[in-house]
């Protein structure tokens, strides 16, 4: 006892929660840390940098037209003479906002819905999942267009519309996981211990499904960004002269033979962010699984 007990007691005080433990494991994963740092830098940059730039995203210089990178315009300009660097930073704001907001919507709604359906089981589960099937079957574009027509165009609505579609898959994933988990004896043991169903759901079921959920969430963010580009292309998303990474890439593709820089730089920004997200997501999944650690 004595020394050993005190030492281990200190260890427990330091990390009683799954989260603190996960954090410890996460910072040991170099790729994940690199991803996290890159992501942090990107987020900070798109928030701060636009205020410092000499140009605005809408400022045109028609005489200049599309020019290649130079001292005045570091990343060149597009056909309307707008500074690409400025547009990438402003576009990043939109893309990240859409990505994070829509994923957050899908996370909250999807995890709750799926967990409740899976845990309730029986008739409630059947009804809830048929509803998901029905929403799944609605063509996404039409769904969004209807939303836009009814509620007018706005960025917030765009988040909601994309989130409203993305949670379906999340709900299915979580439900499947919960279905298999609830047969495990520790759930029964928790019931026999006197826990309420709600507490079992929050304390025992949801932490156990976090692994796949996080990975799927990090995959959702890029998907959402691309979806936003598609909607913007249809004129339903971001309105010009505002832009987003997805939109910039799309425009870049159209003119890649004449003005390759218009494709290269926005794609680089998008890819770097997506890579970082994936590394971070992988790292999080491993960090959140206590069995994956060697210690």
């Amino acid at each position: 006892m004595g020394e050993g007990t005190r030492q281990s007691a200190a260890m427990i005080e330091k990390g009683t929660s799954l989260w603190r433990d996960a954090w410890r494991r996460l910072v040991r994963n170099r790729l994940a840390v690199a991803g996290g740092v890159t992501l942090a830098v990107v987020v900070l940059a798109v928030v701060v940098v636009p205020c410092l730039l000499p140009y605005s995203y809408a400022e045109q210089d028609l005489d200049l037209g599309a020019s290649s990178p130079s001292a005045r315009h570091w990343l060149g300009t597009d056909q309307l003479g707008r500074d690409l660097l400025t547009r990438i930073f402003y576009g990043g704001r939109i893309s990240l906002m859409v990505g994070v907001a829509a994923t957050a919507v899908s996370l909250v709604v999807g995890v709750t819905y799926g967990a409740v359906a899976g845990y309730a089981g029986g008739r409630a589960d059947a009804v809830m999942m048929r509803l998901v099937d029905i929403l799944y079957a609605l063509p996404f574009t039409i769904f969004v267009i209807i939303l836009m027509v009814f509620f007018g165009r706005s960025i917030v609505l765009l988040f909601l519309a994309i989130g409203a579609v993305q949670w379906l898959t999340m709900a299915r994933i979580v439900r499947g996981q919960v279905l298999s988990l609830k047969e495990k004896e520790f759930i029964e043991a928790a019931l026999a211990m006197g826990l309420t169903r709600r507490r079992i759901l929050m304390r025992h079921l949801i932490p156990n499904v976090l692994g796949p959920v996080i990975v799927y969430a990090t995959l959702t963010i890029p998907q959402v960004m691309l979806m936003e580009a598609f909607l913007s292309f249809l004129g339903l998303g971001v309105q010009p002269p505002m832009s987003s990474w997805g939109l910039l890439v799309k425009e870049g593709v159209e003119t890649m033979e004449e003005y390759p820089w218009l494709l290269v730089f926005p794609s680089a920004a998008l890819s770097a962010t997506l890579f970082s997200l994936n590394f971070l997501g992988d790292g999080l999944r491993d960090a959140l699984d206590p069995r994956a650690s060697k210690d």
Binding site: G4, S8, E185, G194, L195
Partner: protein, 324 residues
Amino acid sequence: MALLTVDNLTTRFHTREGVVRAVEGVSFDLKAGETLGIVGESGSGKSVTAYSLLGLIPAPPGRVESGSARFDDRDLLACTPRALRAIRGRRISMIFQDPMTALNPYMRVGGQVMEPLLLHGAGSRREARGRAIEALEAVGIRDAAGRMSDYPHQFSGGMRQRVLIAMAVITNPALLIADEPTTALDVTVQAQILDLLKRMQEAAGMAVILITHDLGVVAGTCGRLLVMYAGKVVESAATDAVFANPRHPYTEALMASLPSAHERGEALYTIPGMPPDLIQPLSGCPFAPRCPHAVERCRQETPALEEVATGHASACLRVQADEL
């Protein structure tokens, strides 16, 4: 006075295929500090009996159709879910068959052992921690304080069962229900766990219901024994009395199929036939089709559990008629 009095418990599962009569009119009682073994093969209703008491039958399709279970001056079967939750884990605890899945892999062992205490409002986190360490030490986990912060996968099967026992007894329950606690463990560990259960029981003075399919497990641990077949109690008596003189052909057959009852190399005895399909309505004695002593009357009349000697009840018509 009895701690638990179960009277005429009947639990059925209303499935699409029909009504499964899992438990039919089971009655028994249990004194404080006593150990009762419930023995039977798979599907005999022994687990369902225990689960019914705590309201853990999945409903639907399961339903406790009738009966009562007096415990702490109330009827467990008529309790509100809220009242039952307050009893579960505090007055009646349960341990399960498979220690590998009975602990949450995402929670530290310490947190799980403390959970019943915190849940039932027995003091602060600090106190709960202290008691959890004591409980883990009591079940023979070395460096208990240090292992509080380990995850279940860092424990062996036997150690996990010890943790589960610590978790179950930490609230000093009056009754512990152990559902096949040693089935998933290898034989040497089985003996240790049974021994531990016995020690914990003596130390805490709690009553234990030990559910098992292994008569060998019951022999060394239980004072009294209930043999179940097809959802009914077929024999009930002191363990010694049953082993010395089984008063039901099914119990006799079970004992004959114990490996220790045989010479080395001799073929093991098996009971011919299969347990009855509990969806079909039973007429007569449920064991009659497999019973070597069955006569026409056994197929016609449904036997009730009746005392055939002092403290020894049997549900065999021919034993009751003194023919066997």
